[in-house]
C-alpha cells in the first residue's frame, strides 16, 4: 500500500530532501496554473473529509469562505491534538512537516488567506521547535512570505504555542485562545467562515487534513477518491495504543478492518490474551464490544452504523483482564478536569458522574447509580455550547449500556437495599438506603454524604417510632 503522508523516505523532514522528492511542486502547480476556485473544486471532488473527528467535507468547508478581500482572512491549523489515545499529528510534525506546510499554503491560496496560524499544544515542546525551524526554512527558500515563487500571492505563517487546555482543540475555543483569551468555545452561528478569529473570516483545519492536500493536487482528485472507502476516501493515521504488542501510528486506507490493524500490523494482543473492549477513535468515542470489533471496518460510515464514530482514529485496545469501571472512571476524570466551566450541564455533570463512578470504584456504589449515570449523561449531551459535553457523556452512556455486567459486579451483591423514612432530614421519604453489612451493623448513608454507624437495635427503634 502506497502511503500518502508517512512515506518511507529517510530525512524527509529536511526541506532539501523534501524538495528533491518532488516537494512543493503542488504549490508551484497551483500558483502557476490553477485558479483558487479550481483548487477548491479539486479538493471537493477528491471527497477528502476532515481528520479532526467531525468528518466534514474539506472542499465544502473551504467554499464557505467569502470571496473578495474586504476583510483579512485567516487559516488556523489545529495541532492541539489532546484527545487521549490520539497522537497522529505529532508523527506528521516529526516525519513529514513540509507536506503539511505545503498543504496549508495551497489552502491559503485557494481561500485568499493573509496569515496562517499553526496552533500546537504546549506539551509538544519538541515538535513546536521542529515546526518553527521548518517554517523558518520555508521562509528562507521563498516558499512563505511575499510574492511566493515569483507569483503575486503572499502569505505569512506563524506557530502559536498552546498551554495545556484540551478544550482549545475545539475550533471556536482555539480562536479565542489565539486571540489571547481564555479558551472558551463560542456559540455558533455565526460560523468561523463569517466571523472567526478577530472577527474576520476564518477556516480551521486539522493538521492531517492539510497534509493530504498536496498529493491530491499532484495526483488528482480521482486518484484520491479511489483509495479506501468510497464515502470516506484516503488514508488514515491510525494511532494504536493499549494492550497490543506493537503500538504505534499506522497509515492505512479508510475501511481497513479493525482486526487487520490489530493482528497484522500491531502484532496482536499482549501476552497472547483475548480482548474485551476497543475504543475506536479517541477516548470520547463510544466503545466497541468484542463482537462488534470482529467485523468492524474503520471508516466514518461503518462506525456510525453501530453508534460510534471514527473520531481521530486513536484506537485504544483493552485486554480481557481490564477493569472497565476503572477505565471509565479515568476517562470521566479527564473530562471533569478539562471542562472549561462555561456551560452548567458539562461543568456540574462531569463532576457528578465522576463522584458516582468514584463510589462504585470504592465499593460503596448503589444499584440505582447505573441509571443515574446514564440520566446525567443524557442531560449533558446536546445541552452545551461545544462538543466537550457530548464527549464526556458518550463514553459513560455507552460503556454502561454495553458493559453493564462489569459495573454490577462492582456493586456488592450481598447488600440488601431498603428505602427507609428519612429521620435525619424530616419526615419526607427520600431515596436514602440502608444496607446491611456482614457485621450486622447498619450503614446509613445520608444524601449530604455523612456516614453514620448504628446498631440493629437502634435501627429497629427508628422503624418502630
Amino acid at each position: 500500500m502506497e502511503k500518502i503522508i508517512l512515506k518511507d523516505i529517510p530525512d524527509l523532514d529536511k526541506i532539501d530532501v523534501y524538495i528533491s522528492n518532488g516537494g512543493y511542486s503542488a504549490l508551484k502547480k497551483v500558483l502557476t496554473g490553477m485558479k483558487p476556485d479550481e483548487v477548491i473544486a479539486e479538493v471537493k471532488n477528491s471527497g477528502l473529509r476532515g481528520r479532526g473527528g467531525a468528518c466534514f467535507s474539506t472542499g465544502m468547508k473551504w467554499s464557505f469562505m467569502p470571496k473578495g478581500n474586504e476583510k483579512p482572512k485567516f487559516l488556523c491549523c489545529n495541532g492541539d491534538e489532546s484527545e487521549p489515545g490520539s497522537f497522529k499529528d505529532r508523527e506528521i510534525f516529526e516525519k513529514n512537516p513540509h507536506q503539511f506546510i505545503e498543504g496549508s499554503l495551497i489552502a491559503a491560496y485557494a481561500m485568499g488567506i493573509q496569515a496562517v496560524y499553526v496552533y500546537i499544544r504546549g506539551e509538544y515542546w519538541k515538535w513546536i521547535n521542529i515546526m518553527e525551524e521548518c517554517v523558518a526554512d520555508a521562509y528562507k527558500k521563498g516558499l512563505i512570505g511575499k510574492n511566493i515563487l515569483g507569483s503575486d500571492f503572499s502569505v505569512e505563517m506563524y506557530v502559536h504555542k498552546g498551554a495545556g487546555a484540551y478544550i482549545c482543540g475545539e475550533e471556536s475555543s482555539l480562536m479565542n485562545s489565539l486571540e489571547g483569551k481564555r479558551g472558551y468555545p463560542r456559540v455558533k452561528p455565526p460560523f468561523p467562515a463569517s466571523v472567526g478569529v478577530w472577527g474576520n473570516p476564518t477556516t480551521i483545519n486539522n493538521i492531517e487534513t492539510l497534509a493530504n492536500i498536496s498529493e491530491i493536487i499532484n495526483k488528482g482528485s480521482e486518484w484520491f477518491s479511489k483509495i479506501g472507502d468510497p464515502k470516506h476516501p484516503g488514508t488514515l493515521l491510525y494511532g494504536v495504543s493499549g494492550h497490543v504488542n506493537k503500538p504505534g501510528v499506522y497509515e492505512l486506507p479508510t475501511g481497513t478492518p479493525l482486526m487487520t490493524i490489530i493482528n497484522d500490523y500491531c502484532g496482536g494482543i499482549k501476552d497472547g490474551k483475548d480482548f474485551k473492549m476497543i475504543i475506536p477513535g479517541g477516548s470520547s468515542m463510544p466503545p466497541l464490544t468484542k463482537e462488534e470489533s470482529l467485523t468492524m471496518k474503520m471508516d466514518a460510515e461503518s462506525l456510525k452504523a453501530v453508534g460510534s464514530a471514527i473520531g481521530t482514529a486513536g484506537i485504544i485496545v483493552m485486554d480481557e483482564d481490564t477493569d472497565i469501571v476503572h477505565v471509565l472512571q479515568r476517562i470521566t476524570k479527564f473530562y471533569y478536569h478539562e471542562s472549561c466551566g462555561q456551560c452548567t450541564p458539562c461543568r456540574e455533570g462531569c463532576g457528578w458522574m465522576l463522584k458516582v463512578l468514584d463510589r462504585i470504584m470504592d465499593g460503596t456504589g448503589r444499584h440505582s447509580d447505573l441509571d443515574l449515570l446514564i440520566s446525567v449523561a443524557e442531560n449533558i449531551e446536546g445541552n452545551t455550547i461545544c462538543a466537550l459535553g457530548d464527549a464526556a457523556a458518550w463514553p459513560v452512556k455507552w460503556t454502561i449500556r454495553k458493559f453493564r455486567k462489569e459495573f454490577e459486579a462492582k456493586i456488592k451483591d450481598e447488600n440488601i437495599e431498603l428505602p427507609v423514612l428519612n429521620k435525619v432530614h424530616g419526615l419526607r421519604k427520600s431515596d436514602e438506603y440502608v444496607s446491611i453489612d456482614t457485621n450486622e451493623n447498619i450503614l446509613v448513608e445520608s444524601l449530604i454524604g455523612k456516614v453514620q454507624e448504628i446498631t440493629v437495635d437502634e435501627n429497629l427503634k427508628r422503624y418502630s417510632s
Binding site: 484527545e83 487521549p84 502559536h160 504555542k161 498551554a163 487546555a165 489571547g180 478577530w198 485504544i316 477505565v327
Partner: protein, 166 residues
C-alpha cells in the same frame, strides 16, 4: 493604565522577542500567551506581579492576564521543583501501568501530587494525555523532554541522573 512601577522582568534582547511576538498578531492581546511562556521560561513560574507586568507591556487589563494564566494548566502559578515531573496517567498510560510509575515516584520522593520535595529538587504532577500513547507509560520534565516507555528501573535511573546533574 500603569498603577505601579516594577523592575522590568525582561532585558533589552528579550524586549526584542516581545516585539516580535506582538508583531505576529493583528492585536497585541494575542501576544499574552507567548509572553507568559517567556516569563515562565526565565523565572520558572508566573507571579501575580509578573502578570501585571505582562498586562502593562500589552496595555491590557491585569485581570485579563490573570484570567488567562489561571485557565491554562501549563502555566505555573507557584514555584515548582527544579525538576517538575509530569506523569501521564490517562487511559493509554493507565493500561500500561502509568499509575505504578506515578506511585513509585511518589513513594520514592515522599511527596504527593503537586507537592515539592523539601530540598526543592523535585515536584510531581499527575497530568492528562500528553500524546505519547504508543510509548506509554511516560513522563515529561519541566514541560519539555518526554521520557517514554518507562519501567521502574528506567524511572530509578532517570531520578538518579537528575539528582546527580545538580
Amino acid at each position: 493604565m500603569k498603577t505601579q512601577e516594577y523592575t522590568p522582568l525582561f532585558d533589552e534582547s528579550e524586549m526584542q522577542t516581545v516585539k516580535m511576538h506582538i508583531s505576529k498578531y493583528p492585536k497585541p492581546m494575542a501576544a499574552v500567551m507567548p509572553l507568559l511562556w517567556m516569563i515562565q521560561e526565565k523565572y520558572g513560574w508566573i507571579s501575580v506581579d509578573a502578570m501585571r507586568y505582562v498586562g502593562d507591556l500589552l496595555s491590557i487589563p491585569h485581570d485579563h492576564v490573570l484570567g488567562v494564566a489561571t485557565f491554562y494548566s501549563m502555566y505555573f502559578k507557584k514555584p515548582m521543583g527544579k525538576f517538575h515531573l509530569q506523569i501521564c496517567t490517562n487511559v493509554s498510560c493507565m493500561l500500561c501501568d502509568g499509575y505504578k510509575i506515578f506511585n513509585h515516584i511518589s513513594d520514592k520522593l515522599g511527596i504527593k501530587n503537586k507537592e515539592i520535595t523539601p530540598d526543592g529538587m523535585f515536584s510531581i504532577e499527575e497530568v492528562e494525555c500528553l500524546g505519547s500513547c504508543a510509548t506509554a507509560p511516560m513522563l515529561q520534565i519541566n514541560n519539555k523532554e518526554f521520557h517514554e516507555n518507562l519501567t521502574i528501573e528506567k524511572t530509578d535511573e532517570l531520578l538518579a541522573k537528575l539528582r546527580n546533574s545538580n
